[in-house]
Symmetry: D3
Subunit: 278 residues, 6 copies
């Protein structure tokens, strides 16, 4: 009887496709979504935080860079377990909220979706998929920068999920990632930290295979390494002529965001209702 203890951390990359929608999406997130989420999962989710996306650095568009925020949860259980299927309230999830995020076409008809359905939008409707990536609660691999402390200064973090193209095995993809990509970044002091975990794709059929977090001194360093001189990274077997790093389809095979160390909203300790400025 019951549900297994299965601690996980999940990442959601939330885009906003036009500036016209940013304040509306923020309103939906903070007015409707945070309190409804706390209501549902507070007893089995031990951390729930938002990290506002920094402006997309030059060249960041081709990396599937989300412009709104990363949402992070720490779960004690697998929330897709059938034991959790019945929800007292359905989340208030107007389709606009998904249009604003870009996982449903702006031309779609107006329906109210369930939260679980909303988090499976995109991918096969021409839109980028909604990426809800479940990982182990702790990073699996420490590629660079173990020992870095908070006193060493503010970090410019690039957190992204990736999937290798159809037809490329995970082994082959990872071989390129670990033997070509990571060493390239490791070799440069402006990249201070690299961490990665596999996505537990079985949880929710997540299209992404791996989450990577790399820290930089700032966007200049990121641009220099990931864009300007990225042709020094050996291209993978699947690269076609004219392809450039990251050799993945933006938004479909790579999805990420740039964030700081500090959460914009740690919901349990900081949310106290939607209290606007008078």
């Amino acid at each position: 009887m019951g549900t297994e203890f299965d601690p996980m951390r999940s990442f959601i990359y939330v885009d906003v496709i036009k500036e016209e929608y940013r304040h509306k999406l923020q309103h939906w997130l903070y007015f409707h979504h945070i309190p409804e989420s706390i209501s549902q999962f507070e007893p089995y989710c031990t951390k729930y935080a938002f990290y506002d996306a920094l402006p997309v650095p030059e060249g960041g568009e081709r990396f599937g860079t989300a412009r709104m925020q990363i949402t992070e949860h720490s779960w004690l259980v697998n929330i897709m377990d059938p034991a959790l299927k019945v929800k007292t309230f359905q989340e208030y999830m107007p389709i606009e909220a998904l249009k604003w995020q870009g996982t449903v076409p702006e031309t779609a008809g107006d329906v109210l979706m369930s939260g679980d359905d909303a988090r499976c939008t995109g991918g096969n409707n021409g839109c980028m998929p909604f990426v809800f990536a479940f990982c182990p609660m702790w990073w699996e691999e420490d590629v660079k920068g173990a020992g870095r402390t908070l006193t060493e200064g503010a970090n410019y973090r690039w957190n992204f999920a990736l999937a290798y193209p159809e037809g490329v095995s995970k082994e082959e993809g990872d071989k390129w990632l670990f033997e070509e990509v990571f060493p390239y970044f490791e070799a440069n002091n402006c990249c201070t930290r690299i961490l990665t975990s596999k996505v537990r794709q079985e949880i929710n059929d997540c299209p992404m295979y791996r989450v990577v977090e790399m820290w930089f001194t700032g966007p200049t360093a990121w641009h220099h390494l990931a864009v300007e001189t990225a042709d020094k990274i050996k291209s993978p077997s699947w690269a076609k002529d004219g392809d450039v790093f990251p050799y993945l389809k933006s938004g479909f095979e790579i999805r990420g965001a740039f964030v700081t160390d500090y959460p914009t909203c740690d919901a349990y300790s900081q949310y106290r209702g939607y209290i606007p400025r008078r």
Copy 2:
């Protein structure tokens, strides 16, 4: 230039006229009204608390007893000062919220009111007036029970505002209150505390003249004193044949509620959004 320091405490007696409305009124109060109120007045209101009304004790109806709650504010300024007139947001104040409270007839047409207008409803529309009584921040007179400590047990508090009938001077009314009513209650051990302050009626043309708080051991004691044996209180000069204590028109000349010592919601420290039970 500016606004004077003028610390006050105010009491609002919130009724709910039918049980059909209680959960709706609670929803309006906690979903809409608390966060909007905090947004507006947090910088100059230092305490904002709700005290749920205890069930009306037997005989309590003729004392204008409110059935929802007492709302208490502590203000640093006179909020009716013209300097405070401009409000960034108007409170969301659907007329239903006033119908539920009984200061607007249930048959009234549907309009959205400003908060200040809403807090002046009743009185001349056949409904009991909305009572928003501003008092000094500290009780003015300590009639009985100075020295009582929290360790002496839970208190059953009767907090009410009163006005003497038209044509009765405040001096005459107070003479009766202080020389007949209070001594009667003082003489009984089951009444443990009596405090009173004049209402600063000039602030908002409040119809009530005085706020009184009496504590009892419980509703049995209250009923015994205020109803059963209240004919021992000498009737005032304005009493007509058949009048009984309190000799005031229920809801118009006396408005109160029974509450405990403990707030249901101390909004600044306890409100964290409208988070329902899943």
Copy 3:
């Protein structure tokens, strides 16, 4: 070694048998019980909330309706596991607190009980049993109203636990409940939601077998359905002449309360000590 992960939610239906005791029981709950409870179980109980009982609607007495509150916990472990037996402090549990709740006769002698003993009072002493019902952390069955969102308005919730009479099998009882009772309520729009789970009776030998939660537009709708026209529900096999719905012994075979969506006290986020109104 150790204790299993076994997430559960529990419900306690707290009655107050006389209004004379309501403020005293509230004092015990908020002055003594909340801080002592947090002290004991905060590390393994992830939510602890009180929901004040709404006034008993007309006809509600025969449904074993509690008048004080529902207490809800979310547990990570089975708190009756022998590994949890040693408690650093015993809860302060004067027998009055149980007399006020009605699970011990008012004539009982004065002893201090352990919390675990207190939560087993009633049932065989002529008093209604103390109902402490452990359920799965998530509702098991969604009978009506899946998809309802918070934006659809305030809900009038009837949460109750039931046990079928001695000699009636659970299968037989449930057949009546699912095939006669639920369809009757489902057929009416004023009942907006029905959820149910079995009680994990083995945890603490709980006398109740099932918890049900039904939502209504308000007490009028509830009364219409559950009292006025309830004779339309086919009576169960065990019904005797003159029996009426719910065909269960009030307080012994059915125990519940009417509450709103919103907690009166979410103890972890809202309790900050017993701070009375000055």
Copy 4:
């Protein structure tokens, strides 16, 4: 002896001149500045909040648009009163923090400044001045949109401070603002709210004369009105050939930011230390 009660609200427009500095400036603000500020002024500042700047809309550069945040305080006293001169701790204010904000040239030498000195930088060093604008605690004038409620949707707010050019009297400037500029915006439904107050320039010799807040449906509406069709606004007497709206020197005579309704950080209720994402 003592300090007068003099409630005020102040606005600071915080820029970040390069994306390279955004995460560093955020670190300084949240790691160092918030706790040090709370330490100093919590007893006499009743609200302290940050509102992250939305991305600068197209055309927003010429309005002196700040890119980091608006900082808002509500004060009970004039913090420039000599009675407040002695500070137990000096704020940690490395000159980089001012370079990042653009009120000190990037080439300036490295010194530690006092907070008060830091908040007077810019203006006469070639950099835009640090704008710390003290206003009455309540908006003085309600130009458009009184009655707007929170339920009408998310607002895109443009909050700016302005000063008329040297040689232009306040009366002359205000005449243009109130008779030409405001009516132009009032006439369009996409501008939903206009509020304004004079700056209490005497407090800190603030270079700005007036604060204005206008709300729009979004950046498209703002751009349409403030940029695309702004030539419909009659130019002021001081306009020179080729000048365009707002006819003020960007950053020196107009300084503002675009923000949402919701604070990024309400420091007293939401700050709990600098706790980074692991």
Copy 5:
């Protein structure tokens, strides 16, 4: 009518005369006194904090060094104003709590005192007086160390109140303090900060005349300066043969404590009830 705005900070030096009483006094402070105090003064006291006393350094006894804590309040009003006389609850103030603090002889009879009376104990009963020193809300004079920031390291703070002996004028005393004592400490780098304010003795007839706060690198430095080499300080006119620094009667003319920078309990933001370790 009304109370003046009169912002103040007050210091109370709380001793514990035997280790046998420390846990009892802590229990009284946190179980009874904090919540009762918040209840009374939260609307007009903007900060309420406890700073645990560090162990008395060698030689500290002759400086009237308190061993329990410093209590600090920030007030918006003069709490001794007659308008504040009526208190809804009297504080729970058993005479033991004063015996533990040493302002009432251990042999005194058992009575319950009012809080105001309790805070006037000592002085004329052979015990050290209860020192409740009201100062301006901001330090008046900055004698040494302006510009020190929090980043320069932890501070060992000596906060004390003093009064000059009977017959010594304040001018004469201050002349010695400012011209002999302070320069002596200023001359040594291990004393990093000196601040002082006059006590507003008229508020409550406080026996102390001035509060001084000096910061040191640690107790070794303090002992070196205040004890070992303190004979380098020129003795004051009132010194008698054999007198040593501070030339004041311990506990009667000087009362202080050693504390760190960080509060043990900032009551408004940190107190959440008396929740013991299980």
Copy 6:
């Protein structure tokens, strides 16, 4: 895949070897360590609290009495599980912080350590070992005082970890503890409570075998029992001539602290950043 549910409570006994270091160690704990710890383990540690050590009672030195604090955690998982090895940030752990605590010689060279390494210092470097004792989340054995409630008064708690000398079996040691030591304390009313659990030494190779908590009325009672009359306790088999109770090597075979019931800092609910007194 994944980590087992394995709830535990751990105790750390933090010493400060000189008063010169107390304020520095407090600064490190509250400025650096608490926020870094919350950052790392909040999702899987459900309680994190500090209990300041009371002054060492007379005779307490020979019991390995720590002078700073006890740190208590409640964990949902075994934090030494390899799945938790990768840490995003390394804790800021200057070697001074360990010198201050006495687990590294003051003469040691200056290095930055990882947190895990720091928590293994001492023992074989001539210093007392860093004791980080993992126990079951609930006390295993209730030796004396079951039924004690919080209302019975403040408790003077002695919490210590012990290990029997090399060559003494756990059975032999426990036989002495349970048959000689505990009965001796049980026989005296001034010892009110005895609880004990075995340490889960396998978690981190903890040198200690058992944690014991005994409560007393105060230090006088403790001294009387544990020092003055402790020769009434039969000495164990391993005692040598001249040995006295506890017959264990101070700091190496016994390590403890005296604390009250109340936490100095319950980090999750009370920490809000390092906000010093101005």
